[in-house]
Amino acid sequence: MAAPTLDAVLTGLAQKGATGSLRVGKDGILYLTRGRVSYAECADTPGVEDLLAASGRISPTRVREARQSAGTGGEGGDLLVREGVLSRGELQFCVLGATLDASFFLLESALPHQQAAPRTRYRDGDTHWLGTHWFFDVPGLFRECGRRRSRLDGVWPSAELDTRPVVPLPRIPGKHVVLTAAQWEVLLAADATATPVELARRLGRPAYSTLLAVRELASAGLLATGPEPGAPAPPEGPPGSGAPPPPEESPGSGTSAPAGRSQGASALPKRASNAAPRVVVRHPEAGQSAGQGAGQGAGPAGTSAGLPEVSGDPADMNLLIRLRDALEALQ
């Protein structure tokens, strides 16, 4: 195999309806069940085991025991549900959350350097010890990862904070702040040395949610986003991004980051062109206040090429009647 991309390998396995595990370099493993992704692990993201332990419901030792007694049968999840550690719904949500989180980083790391695609190794028939509790079809998984990427970029369009230590500002620019639970945890755990991924591990939260919280905090102006490497503007985007990133996503921003950014850029010209009709609308008032002579003199010249201004006053009515008569005479 001449180093096919991860996308290609995964798509191929999906078409074959494969059941097994796909190791992606040293980063992680994707598990497939009949051609659909049923679990994923990534070195950077907490797995179900970590999330379970972080929730305080079960000790890491008991998770290990469950794993051992589950063996290769892939019944570990059912075992945990039977033991009352968590409900079936929670297990499904946990598995789907961990799978998406890991996939986001696995597929993402495969994207930028497709030439040096990570080495993949497929083991047929391999299953995860938790068993199968949720499925993602492969195209759907790619779509969701893309959607998550653009959601991140919609909040704060620069990726530079993703890998840097999180440094909250000692003093905030405003007087009042509303935080989400995730943002609170990030701020409390941030020690100016831990990166978002490290914070996620510490907090037992998905890495993606932590990344999102960090970018939201940056967008709210609560983090040091100083341009250490040298660029003067915080976001490294094109000139259009000179405007601050939108504080909240607009409904359309789910599509892509560049769309969100160009939206911001196009806001200015739009506003400028809106301003022109507004001058015309305001004109009758201006005429009243500034004196009729001045108003009538300045208005038409500025707005339209030589056409007479029309308002409700009798002179204009007379003009209209004369125009109508002239047009009728032409016929």
Binding site: S87, L100, P206, E249, P251
Partner: protein, 124 residues
Amino acid sequence: MIGIEDCLSEAMSIPGALDAILVDHTSGMAVAGEGVQDPARSALGLTEAFRATLDGIALSSADGTAARIEDVIITTDTSYHLIRPMEMMFDGPLLICLRLDLEHSNLALARRRLRTITHQLIAH
């Protein structure tokens, strides 16, 4: 004890139910839906509606403490939207969003049924 998909079909069996969708509030992802035409779009809209409610209520709460929302009821000219957050073990909340016919539903009953269903989903 029920799973995610059972929870949706249970919600759809509530009298007057038009459609139902489960949304991961953090990521804005549609987890599963029944009767929803464009789940991704609905998920985004409902996520924003819930976030706006959370922010607004947090700002307006007199004592400034954290706001905990039991459910959100929105009445439009044709339907009720019921949004109910479920705190999951990690991350979340998971939102269950049910749309009900204005004429053919009983709001009080629907609220109670939805509460029971969500308790079943996360009961252990």
